[in-house]
């Protein structure tokens, strides 16, 4: 070893935990700074925009002294039908896609659990919708559902006796056997389930591989039926991963913009909150209203999540 320089000797005089402390703060510093700049600062600004009368043209001269504080944006949004429509659509969309994608993923993971020839290939093929870029997926679905040359309408008219082509991506509601069916909303929900079930499938498959085989075999020998086995041995093991999936899928679906907008651009009763924020910002150039919608949207999400946490805690206690 060479003789220590002054710098390293000072470094070495620190205790190990002191060194670790410094290193830790140095290494995470840049990340935290970046987050502060691009997340916390914008968040403060969203509060300012939401609670003040600021227009896009006022931005260059914006300073704390010139801000006119007001609740108008929030109150206007709260009182408008458009807000409640969008919220309702978003809640339906997020709930159904969450349940659907996890349900399909779970079912397939269970169906594919027992080893067979070609299992690896089947698993890989099932991941295709998830890996496919959203734009490509949306383009293919738009083509399939097109009223003129799409295969779904062609099959429907040729074999299923449809009188006229269905505008799958622009029909807010249609009567099927006397019941109103929100066609386009169901289509974007189906698309999202199709696109995201592989994630649930992957998570559950990974967890299933860690379920010890011994318990199952023992319970089977004790005379448990397959159904009892599934219900009392396997599903309890999957509880953790299913709850995690439920949480992240709901949060992601709740704020989804791309998948809905690329299919319908918000037409046919598919205007979810994220699209509403976008149209307020771009089409109407109203940053105050856009910020208010965004804030209310996160508030609703927080309330729903808090409710979820409370409910799952209470269940645990029982």
């Amino acid at each position: 070893m060479s003789t220590p320089t002054r710098r390293s000797s000072r470094w070495e005089r620190l205790s190990r935990s002191q060194r670790e402390n410094l290193n830790g703060q140095l290494l995470t510093g840049p990340t935290l700074l970046l987050i502060a700049l691009v997340v916390l600062l914008p968040f403060l600004l969203v509060l300012v925009f939401g609670f003040s009368d600021t227009r896009l043209i006022d931005i260059p001269r914006l300073s704390p002294s010139t801000i006119e504080w007001t609740f108008d944006n929030i109150v206007d949004a709260w009182q408008s039908d458009a807000f409640w429509d969008a919220l309702w659509t978003t809640v339906i969309y997020a709930t159904l896609t969450t349940i659907g994608s996890i349900g399909v993923g779970l079912l397939l993971a269970l169906a594919l659990r027992r080893p067979f020839r070609g299992q690896g290939i089947v698993r890989a093929l099932l991941l295709i919708p998830y890996v496919l870029p959203v734009i490509a997926a949306a383009m293919i679905w738009r083509t399939m559902l097109n009223p003129q040359y799409g295969i779904v309408n062609a099959i429907g008219q040729e074999y299923l006796g449809w009188q006229s082509p269905v505008g799958f991506l622009s029909t807010t509601s249609t009567d099927v056997a006397g019941l109103p069916v929100p066609v386009s909303l169901l289509v974007v929900i189906a698309f999202e389930i199709w696109k995201s079930f592989p994630l649930a499938f992957l998570f559950v498959t990974a967890r299933l591989q860690n379920v010890p085989g011994g318990i199952e075999e023992a319970s089977a020998l004790d005379g448990a039926s397959r159904w009892q086995n599934l219900r009392h041995i396997i599903l309890p093991q999957l509880r953790g991963v299913l709850l995690l999936l439920l949480l992240i899928r709901f949060i992601w679906s709740f704020q989804n913009f791309n998948d809905v907008y690329l299919l319908t651009e918000g037409a046919g009763g598919t205007q979810v909150m994220a699209i509403k924020v976008y149209t307020e910002l771009v089409t109407r150039s109203d940053i105050g209203s856009a910020a208010a919608y965004g804030l209310l949207m996160s508030l609703v999400l927080c309330v729903l999540l808090a409710g979820y946490v409370l409910l799952s805690r209470r269940k645990e206690a029982l």
């Binding site: 990340t31 600004l45 890996v131 959203v134 383009m139 199709w194 913009f257 791309n258």
Partner: protein, 286 residues
């Protein structure tokens, strides 16, 4: 396995039906897109049910038209793809380098503020990003970056850092700590130890994270739409394709473009798979 666990016949039939239906649903649409992109536009319009192109009918001109520059009579997708590649690769590079250090610190080092860092990163990861779109747009316009690919890059790095950090933290946590301690005791400095010891073992995790980050940047549409929609020369691939649907572009060209945008993703998965297997076995050496 005991015979009691073998599934009964109806269960087996149900199981295989389910698997078949799932496979058709997962693969079918993509196959449909590929086949249609190979057919001439007129044939698609005339016979929508006839999806398999005849041998003499196969026509690659849709791909050429999609990729060629507007000046050459195409739709300029080649340039959109290039824009996307540029932004996505830069995002991966910056985000991964920033995260390797941060993730290691959060996973291993005991320092003041560690729990705070973990918490805030998770919170940011789960927070509805769309809410922040408004101020981000305003800030970047003020900085003069809202009409440039650099502005998009800033947004993408910020969006991917929390995810990447969170993923890599988990990979680092799973590594054996004893090797690192031995290296440090042998006189390795922390940066050297990270580069020589931790990174080689964690390589599969780093590659997996990099792929995830790449996919996010490659797929991103919302901010591209918000920032760059007026400037055709800077469109990214998803934005370009989506915008083309508003013009009178033949559907075969749109599908060809969609397939072309998918190719880099598949290529990366294919390449990375070998890389990740190699990394795994290298890490398993005793």
């Amino acid at each position: 396995m005991s015979s009691a666990m073998r599934p009964s016949r109806p269960v087996n039939v149900l199981r295989w039906t389910l698997i078949t239906v799932a496979l058709v649903c997962a693969v079918g649409p993509v196959l449909y897109g590929v086949l249609l992109s190979l057919r001439p536009y007129s044939a698609v319009l005339l016979e929508p049910l006839d999806i398999v192109p005849g041998l003499g009918e196969i026509d690659l001109s849709s791909y050429v038209t999609a990729m060629k520059d507007e000046s050459a009579g195409g739709f300029g997708l080649g340039r959109f793809v290039l824009n996307s590649l540029l932004v996505a690769l830069a995002t991966v590079a910056i985000s991964i380098v920033a995260c390797i250090f941060g993730a290691y610190a959060v996973a291993r080092l005991r320092y003041r503020g560690r729990r705070f860092t973990s918490g805030i990163i998770l919170a940011v990861y789960l927070f509805p990003g769309i809410v922040l779109a408004v101020p981000k747009f305003v800030i970047l316009s003020r900085l003069g970056l809202s009409r440039s690919l650099v502005g998009l890059l800033v947004i993408y790095v910020a969006a991917t850092v929390p995810v990447a950090l969170y993923m890599m933290r988990n990979y680092f946590l799973a590594l054996p700590e004893s090797v690192e301690e031995a290296a440090l005791l042998d006189g390795c400095s922390l940066p050297t130890m990270l580069r020589r010891v931790v990174l080689p073992i964690a390589l599969p995790g780093v590659v997996a994270t990099a792929i995830y980050v790449f996919m996010i940047a490659w797929n991103e549409y919302f901010y591209a739409l918000l920032f760059l929609v007026q400037d055709r020369s800077r469109w990214t691939a998803p934005l370009g394709l989506a915008q083309l649907t508003d013009f009178q572009v033949p559907v075969t060209v749109l599908l060809a473009g969609s397939i072309a945008v998918t190719v880099p993703v598949i290529a990366i998965f294919f390449l990375a798979q070998r890389f990740m297997v190699a990394g795994l076995t290298a890490g398993a050496d005793k």
